[in-house]
């Protein structure tokens, strides 16, 4: 799994590529921890390059969501593949996260 971070104004764009599972989710959580430590609280997570995600991957996203929503922050998701969207639908997290087709729309939503 590869995680690339860039910034668009105050918004942190995190592009995840590769399988996000129990093996790799700790790396994503560590990256989120680093960014939260820098005071960042507005995130777009681009999951277009993620073909596999399991519950530890979900947990990493929910952890970030809960922490930034304590303040004025938010987490928007984009590019979720059809096979991954099923997980969000089953867990009803599609009603929790704002989900966009592409990165530009997610960034513009802030």
């Amino acid at each position: 799994m590869q995680v690339d971070v860039s910034k668009e104004g105050d918004i942190v764009v995190v592009v995840v590529q590769g399988e996000l599972d129990a093996n790799t989710a700790p790396d994503l959580r560590a990256k989120f921890e680093e960014l939260i430590g820098q005071g960042k609280n507005q995130y777009v997570i681009d999951l277009a390059g993620v073909p596999v995600m399991d519950s530890p991957g979900i947990a990493a996203l929910v952890n970030l969501f809960k922490r930034v929503r304590i303040g004025a922050g938010d987490v928007k998701l984009c590019g979720i593949r059809e096979e991954i969207m099923e997980i969000f639908q089953l867990t009803r997290l599609d009603r929790v996260f704002d989900i966009f087709d592409n990165r530009a729309d997610a960034v513009a939503s802030f």
């Binding site: 599972d21 129990a22 093996n23 596999v52 399991d54 929910v62 997980i87 089953l90 009803r92």
Partner: protein
């Protein structure tokens, strides 16, 4: 036609991808469609992750045996471990009204598979059986609770 296959992996998270690839290859070759293969990969990942974390306490160096049988009705995957037996009485369905950081694994397995069975009668570990019927020949089960 029946086909049997087996893969033995170690209880370390790095083995998850190998297990997924193995299952996806066999299921695809057996004629299961891509969306079903995705469901199977996720269910396997959740199940094996649970074994690694809960049966073996997150410790590598323990054996997990995956066995696969496909026929014209269904795909049957068994996941055998020799760690702490699974205790279904401790399972609680996650509260879907609030985002959770845990507890989705078993829920997802039951949501995605047609039949889920746990067997701890051997006294050493658990045999988890997952059944996914072919779309035109669904299995008799329907994602019942543990």
């Amino acid at each position: 036609m029946n086909a049997e296959d087996r893969l033995i992996i170690d209880s370390q998270p790095e083995a998850l991808a190998k297990a997924r690839d193995w299952l996806a290859d066999r299921a695809s070759r057996a004629g299961f469609p891509p969306d079903t293969v995705s469901d199977l990969k996720l269910a396997l990942t959740e199940a094996v992750s649970n074994v690694m974390l809960h049966a073996y306490g997150g410790q590598p160096g323990h054996q997990i045996i995956l066995s696969l049988v496909t026929d014209d009705q269904a795909l049957t995957l068994t996941i055998r471990d020799f760690g702490r037996p699974f205790d279904a009485s401790h399972y609680q369905t996650p509260d879907l009204s609030e985002p959770q950081e845990g507890g989705y694994g078993i829920f997802l397995i039951h949501s995605l598979m047609d039949e889920v069975r746990y067997d701890t009668s051997s006294g050493a570990g658990t045999t988890l059986t997952l059944v996914k019927g072919r779309a035109n020949n669904p299995s008799t089960g329907s994602g019942s609770g543990p």
